[in-house]
């Protein structure tokens, strides 16, 4: 099969994407969304699809280091890119510190929004955030309809305060 190099208009495109360290080479419809590529082609269903227009944040993944909505990107737009999804966070040793903090602080009930929150948090450096308001602005890109956000903030603050200044209160609301 000859590779379709996007240099002429086509409804089918060949893409090469690395997801959580695994390389995928596929011919896909140009209209295939990244969220559907991740779930249906790569089989990684940890990325959840909520509103499908970039508002709820459930489908957030990391594209070349930056958080992005996988429902508002075509798979072909990330051709050649490196993607990380929520499946990449836990290791054989167990949950990552943020996942552990969500667990300990009861920062989820139904869990539908959780992968998005985790990927946004994974994509940033807490040092770039000055205070709780900065953290709120970051998390405002995610809707949670169960927990009322307080426990989510608590979980993040516990990890970020520890990372920056042990026992500090920079991110306490």
């Amino acid at each position: 099969m000859e590779r379709q190099d996007h240099d002429s208009p086509s409804a089918q495109v060949d893409i090469e994407v690395t997801i959580n360290g695994e390389r995928f080479r596929n011919r896909v419809p140009a209209r295939l969304l990244l969220s559907d590529f991740i779930r249906d082609v790569a089989g990684l269903t940890g990325t959840h699809v909520g509103c499908e227009h970039g508002v709820c944040g459930a489908c957030t993944v990391i594209v070349d280091g930056d958080a992005a909505r996988s429902c508002s990107l075509l798979a072909v737009q990330v051709d050649g890119c490196t993607i990380r999804t929520v499946e990449d966070l836990a290791t054989d040793g167990g949950l990552c510190p943020m996942q552990q903090a969500f667990h300990e602080n009861l920062a989820l009930q139904c869990g539908f929004c959780t992968p998005g929150f985790l990927m946004t948090l994974e994509s940033v450096d807490p040092q770039d955030f000055a205070d709780a308001d900065d953290l709120f602005a970051l998390l405002s890109g995610h809707l949670c309809r169960c927990t009322g956000y307080q426990n989510i903030i608590k979980a993040v603050a516990s990890v970020w305060n520890e990372a920056i200044e042990p026992h500090g209160g920079r991110f306490q609301s």
């Binding site: 409804a11 499908e52 930056d66 990107l73």
Partner: protein
């Protein structure tokens, strides 16, 4: 599979993009896609072809000098928001950008894309109109420059002609002593504004020398508030009477407010007036530290 089927094309040059757009009159330009792809998901937009310009190196420039900031059509909103060079000469851009969508969408969405989309509730078209920015547009008949107030023609309607695309936008640097604020009333943080305002005050000490204000999400296009701008020079503080006069001027400037499911036209008129007074008052009370 949410978007309707289309042909995808990734040209290797701007002229290749222009050619493709000229050949397929209903094709759409894809840069960040943060408005276009959601519109396609709902099939509000069903373009037969997307011309992806995101990887064209020629469109990735951010040029900053003491007179202007020029941003290429491939440059993301987040890149501009985080640029220390841009912040030095034009902090108004970062001030406006932090209201645009969310960090997760600003990582992909482009500054020029917001202009091309021309959403009446968008912050960037309002900032472009308020600062007299110029757009550079390339098409089958060559390159032309369009002032932002002429470029934004109506709701989701621009001056772009078949085959044309925006290649860059140029924001003039505001005079020394200018501070810019964006203020919004929205149902939730990061939502489209129900009522929005861009306010730029140029001050000499405490006294306003020049004022530029632009309301957005209140009409089909962002609206410069000319009577408000006329009242502010010479003002140092807003007492209650002056506040009322200013509010009346803002309400009068908004001749034809839009009413929809989120708010009536009358609500928008009153809310914009209140937002103008509140924002100007808060800017006057703030010690003047930001330049430009």
């Amino acid at each position: 599979m949410k978007p309707a089927s289309f042909d995808y094309y990734r040209p290797s040059s701007v002229s290749g993009a222009v050619q493709a757009l000229a050949d397929s009159p209903f094709a759409k330009v894809l840069a960040g896609g943060q408005s276009l792809i959601p519109a396609m998901n709902f099939r509000l937009a069903t373009p037969p072809m997307l011309v992806d310009i995101a990887r064209l190196e020629d469109l990735h420039g951010v040029e900053v000098d003491e007179h202007e900031v020029t941003i290429g059509a491939g440059v993301t909103q987040r890149h501009v928001e985080m640029s220390t060079r841009v912040a030095e000469v034009m902090p108004a851009l970062a001030e406006a950008l932090r209201w645009v969508g969310h960090i997760q969408t600003r990582n992909r969405g482009t500054v020029c894309g917001s202009l091309a989309h021309a959403d009446p509730s968008g912050e960037l078209p309002a900032l472009a109109i308020n600062t007299d920015a110029d757009l550079t547009v390339e098409g089958p008949n060559g390159i032309r420059e369009v002032p932002a107030p002429d470029f934004i023609r109506g709701p989701f309607w621009t001056d772009l002609r078949p085959g044309e695309l925006i290649t860059s936008i140029r924001f003039p640097v505001a005079p020394r002593g200018t501070t810019t604020r964006v203020a919004e009333i929205a149902h939730r943080s990061g939502d489209f504004a129900t009522v929005g305002l861009v306010a730029s005050l140029t001050r000499d000490g405490r006294t306003i020398r020049r004022a530029r204000l632009c309301g957005f999400a209140v009409a089909g296009t962002p609206i410069r508030l000319r009577s408000v701008e006329g009242l502010l020079p010479g003002v140092e503080q807003l007492d209650e009477t002056a506040g009322r006069t200013l509010a009346d001027a803002a309400a009068a400037d908004l001749e034809d407010p839009v009413g929809d499911i989120h708010a009536t036209g009358q609500y928008r008129r009153e809310a914009l007036a209140a937002l103008v007074v509140r924002t100007v008052r808060s800017m006057l009370e703030d010690p003047q530290r930001e330049a430009s």
